[in-house]
């Protein structure tokens, strides 16, 4: 017991600990020897055995990419499909001399410089054991030639796959867009595991917007591969879940009429069902071939598309920004009625021009002699500019801004593809922020005829016109109406989306405007009377002619003196039939001249087809 209370014997403890440490050190050395002998056993004694194992049969887990969903038009015509294709792929790890390999292969199969460029590019990015395509889209003969010679090329193989194909080519390119090879930017966005077997991803249009639905879920298989990495047999398999098919709202026959009517002129046509927002036609002209983009477009073709004067890559329907011109008038008319600034009977005197008090600048009417005494109905049917200068002046920019924003001018329509432009609905505040300037009264005047800063896309025009045809009900446009499962064929319908309803003080204002628009087509002196002749149904519309350049005060607009790209844009908005609208269109022909002459006849053709078809269907 006495020892408990003595001072700690440091010398003794130090020796005790040192003994134990030495002992522990000894054990450590022993265990290290154990590790070394084990590694020696594996690496030296069993080396042959494991080398054989590593070289001969190995089990690998490989992803099975899901089959991408198909895309159909409204009538069930296939728009995007997957075509079997063969590509020649190389595993770099198993190649000693890549250049010699390419040289030898090119004796059998044609390999272009662009193929080699792309291959070398991928060679730097991918890991050495990943297979890289050298040639794409081999034909049957090339596959046969390579198969005979396959034994000479270890690490090279023909890989069967599915290639996205758009059988309609440029007819629907701006709607469905295209898929392209997954690039570095895409990798950051995508789920690495789900895309482990995929080579392509939607880059534009519906292919991009509905990527999640179209792609499906990856599957996996455990395979046994030999020393060359070739699959010997499949051991276990988890099937991929294919992507869902999409059913578009696009009516292909209507789409084709619109394409034919535009006939490669620059312009855009969009048609929509005002009841549910189904986009029936969606044409941006000219188009281009989406198939070229699937496996990477070559530089020359791409720069040709980029530098083309017609700018085919721009999606004019949702990105083209045009002054709405006179098509703005029915909307302004409604705003005027609702604000109590005007009633139907009230007339303005149109001498052919209008000037603000104390200014000598003359704002001209399109009709040189003027329209004389003009009320709202006449102002819309004959598109009197002076009437709307005065109306706009009386409303003032603030009320114009508020009223037009009900119809969605100045904001995106919310259609189900990306890249939409919001156009521009100017206000005092906007001008102060964007240009740092005050708002001038003259700018309010020209807002009355849809000129000046105001810009809208054809999609905005069709949505706004639908709201008018619907008497206030705002429906969001959409391109996809349903999806279906490729295995079970179960269809799930997507809901159409009613955003809001515009409230006016008196419901009869809608009828007043719609009647005026009907008389644009069917009334005496209506600007589009020619297009309404002999129609079996009644439709309503409004022509527009948007100035691209402003004409000096003392000059006149002479078509033949102005270069084509500075000539006026022709516009027409319309819906049919007047009583129960089933189709709304917005048409813009760039530099096409007057809306009544160029754009309105296109609407008539589309309506004739659509109403004819639909009548047949409802009767049958």
């Amino acid at each position: 017991m006495a020892k408990e209370f003595t001072l700690k014997d440091n010398e003794f403890e130090s020796r005790l600990i040192a003994r134990r440490v030495f002992f522990a050190g000894l054990i450590i050395l022993l265990m290290v020897a154990l590790i070394i002998s084990r590694v020696f056993y594996l690496t030296v004694i069993q080396h042959e055995h494991f080398t054989t194992l590593s070289k001969s049969n190995r089990v690998k887990i490989t992803p099975i990419p899901p089959i991408r969903g198909l895309i159909y038009s409204r009538e069930g015509v296939i728009i995007a499909e997957n075509k079997p294709s063969f590509s020649l792929e190389v595993i770099p790890e198993q190649i000693e001399d890549v250049d010699r390999l390419i040289e030898q292969l090119s004796k059998l199969i044609s390999i272009q410089d662009s193929d080699i460029d792309r291959f070398k590019n991928l060679l730097g990015k991918k890991r050495r054991f990943e297979s890289i395509p050298l040639r794409l889209n081999l034909d049957q003969k090339e596959v046969a030639i390579f198969s005979v010679n396959r034994h000479r090329f270890s690490g090279v193989d023909v890989v069967a796959g599915l290639n996205r194909f758009y059988p309609l080519g440029e007819e629907l390119v701006h709607t469905i867009g295209y898929v392209g090879r997954i690039d570095e930017e895409d990798i950051k966005q995508l789920d690495e595991s789900n895309y482990s077997g995929s080579t392509h991803v939607g880059k534009l249009g519906i292919e991009k917007a509905y990527e999640d639905i179209l792609h499906g879920d990856v599957g996996f298989q455990q395979v046994e591969v030999n020393a060359q990495g070739r699959v010997i047999r499949v051991l276990d398999r988890t099937a991929p879940r294919p992507g869902q098919n999409l059913h578009l709202t696009i009516d292909l026959s209507l789409q084709r009429i619109a394409i034919n009517e535009l006939n490669n002129r620059r312009g855009a046509i969009v048609a929509m069902d005002p009841a549910n927002g189904d986009v029936l036609a969606f044409v941006s002209s000219p188009g281009y071939d989406p198939n070229k983009f699937v496996n990477g477009i070559d530089t020359r073709s791409y720069s040709a598309l980029l530098s083309s004067r017609d700018k085919p890559l721009i999606n004019r329907v949702i990105q083209g920004k045009y002054p709405p011109g006179s098509t703005i008038k029915p909307f302004l008319g409604l705003v005027g009625l609702d604000n109590g600034v005007r009633d139907l009977a009230q007339e303005s005197w149109c001498p052919g021009w209008f000037s603000l008090k104390g200014h000598d600048h003359r704002y001209r009417d399109w009709k040189k002699g003027g329209h004389g005494y003009t009320n709202l109905h006449k102002a819309i049917t004959q598109s009197c500019d002076v009437f709307f200068y005065i109306l706009a002046y009386e409303l003032g920019i603030n009320r114009i801004f508020e009223g037009l924003s009900w119809f969605g001018f100045g904001e995106t329509t919310g259609i189900d593809i990306d890249g939409e432009a919001s156009g521009l609905l100017p206000s005092k505040e906007w001008k102060r922020n964007a240009l740092g300037q005050a708002w001038y009264p003259g700018e309010t005047l020209i807002m009355g005829i849809g000129q000046g800063y105001a810009l809208s896309t054809p999609m905005q025009l069709v949505k706004a016109t639908s709201s008018l045809a619907n008497k206030g009900k705002i429906v969001r446009p959409r391109l996809v109406s349903s999806t279906s499962d490729p295995i079970s064929n179960d269809i799930s319908y997507l809901n159409s989306h009613i955003e809001n309803t515009i409230q006016v003080k008196n419901q009869s204002y809608w009828d007043d405007i719609i009647t005026s628009m009907k008389d644009v087509v069917h009334g005496v002196g209506g600007t589009a009377w020619r297009s309404g002749l002999n129609a079996k149904y009644k439709f309503a519309g409004k022509t527009g002619t948007a100035q691209v350049i402003s004409i000096a005060q003392d000059k006149e607009y002479k078509k033949e003196e102005i270069p084509e790209e500075l000539q006026d844009h022709a516009l027409f908005i319309a819906f049919a039939p007047v009583e129960t609208p089933r189709i709304v269109v917005a048409i813009i022909v760039e530099n096409g001249g007057g809306g009544s002459k160029t754009a309105a006849p296109i609407a008539r053709k589309m309506f004739d087809h659509f109403m004819g078809n639909n009548n047949l269907i409802s009767e049958g």
């Binding site: 600990i17 450590i28 494991f50 590593s54 089990v59 051991l235």
Partner: protein, 363 residues
């Protein structure tokens, strides 16, 4: 007058630092290969290493007496946190190990790797050695509480390391051989009980270890693939970046727990001998520090930490070479990952503190 070298002034033990840096460099080189030549991965790991090295140097500035004073509090904090993890912890990979502190996620079990040996060294150094039976019993309880809490998360690997850290301090403190033997017998008898409490996946691992070929595509896949990688590497290895087993993605967890297999495949037996030399150098230095420490606390703690470091190496290499069941223990300072590395570095910091705060009287 005290005469102090640069190392003592800045509290850095250069031989130890040298060993650590060489090891970390090897780790980065092999990580580049194991991670599929991802330079970004290596860069991020290098940043973590640097932060851990700085933390090590900061700890080395604290005098051992200060560290001893913290022991009890750290230990109590650790136990409280472990209990909190059970109730509020984040689930990750089927185990509840993490405490989310909003700013960063924290693994209390890592703290215990340091605070258990600290606590025991602190407790035993108080009275004269060797410890009496009652004190040994108390120490055993101190070890078993955190070990059980960690094993329940479940994290068998860390529980094993914490137990090792505690018992190695007890061993160094001179516990009698007879007591040691009877504890061993008791542990062997307790194994069936442990089996009963094990999770299914843990049982699976043990069964697989006993017969890996039984389930080659399931649980045995790790061991079989790593043995193929090591064996096919041979005496000289396949060369850096040329390991086929690892690069063809046959080898799972190749940049973390199984990085040793990648190392073996690419650098062969020669490389392994070299790597073990560096590890042994660090261990020898650690034991040297332990023997030359001036206080019992320092001696016990330094040797405890060094032995734990070795157990890391042994268990990891044993599991990768197929001699031990697969428990999640990384190869220290080489495997990719941040948490365990920081703990290791802090441990080395403590060892440097013990060594560089010695006082020499000049006569």
């Amino acid at each position: 007058m005290e005469e102090r070298t640069i190392g003592q002034r800045f509290h850095i033990d250069f031989p130890l630092l040298f060993g650590i840096i060489v090891l970390c460099s090897i780790g980065l080189i092999i990580l580049y290969s194991a991670g599929g030549q991802n330079a970004d991965l290596v860069y991020r790991q290098a940043i973590k290493l640097t932060i851990a090295l700085v933390a090590m140097m900061i700890v080395a500035q604290l005098p051992p007496t200060e560290i001893a004073r913290w022991s009890l509090w750290l230990y109590i904090c650790g136990i409280v946190l472990l209990v909190l993890v059970i109730f509020y912890g984040d689930m990750g990979k089927g185990a509840q190990r993490w405490l989310d502190l909003k700013i960063f996620r924290f693994q209390p079990s890592e703290l215990m790797k340091l605070s258990v040996p600290m606590m025991i060294a602190f407790y035993l150094a108080d009275k004269s050695l060797p410890p009496r039976f009652l004190r040994v019993l108390l120490v055993c309880i101190m070890i078993v509480i955190p070990v059980v809490l960690i094993a329940k998360q479940p994290d068998l690997g860390t529980a094993l390391l914490v137990a090792t850290a505690g018992f190695s301090v007890l061993f160094i403190a001179g516990i009698s051989w007879r007591l040691l033997l009877s504890m061993g017998v008791l542990a062997a008898a307790g194994t069936p009980v442990l089996w009963y409490f094990m999770h299914d996946y843990q049982k699976q691992r043990v069964l697989t270890f006993l017969n890996p070929e039984h389930d080659p595509l399931g649980a045995g896949y790790h061991t079989i693939q790593s043995k193929i990688a090591i064996g096919s590497g041979g005496f000289y290895g396949k060369g850096w970046l040329n390991g086929t087993q690892s690069h063809l993605e046959f080898l799972p967890e190749r940049s973390t727990d199984f990085i040793f297999a990648v190392f073996c495949e690419e650098f062969g037996l020669i490389g392994v001998l070299l790597l073990l030399c560096i590890y042994l150098f660090i261990i020898a230095r650690g034991l040297f520090i332990a023997i030359n420490a001036q206080h019992t606390f320092g001696r016990l703690l330094a040797s405890g930490l060094t032995l734990t470091f070795f157990v890391y190496i042994f268990v990891n290499m044993g599991m990768v070479t197929g001699q031990l069941p697969v428990v999640g223990i990384p190869l220290p300072l080489v495997s990719h990952g941040g948490t365990s590395m920081v703990t290791l570095m802090l441990g080395f910091g403590i060892m440097m503190s013990i060594h560089t705060h010695r006082r020499f009287l000049s006569f």
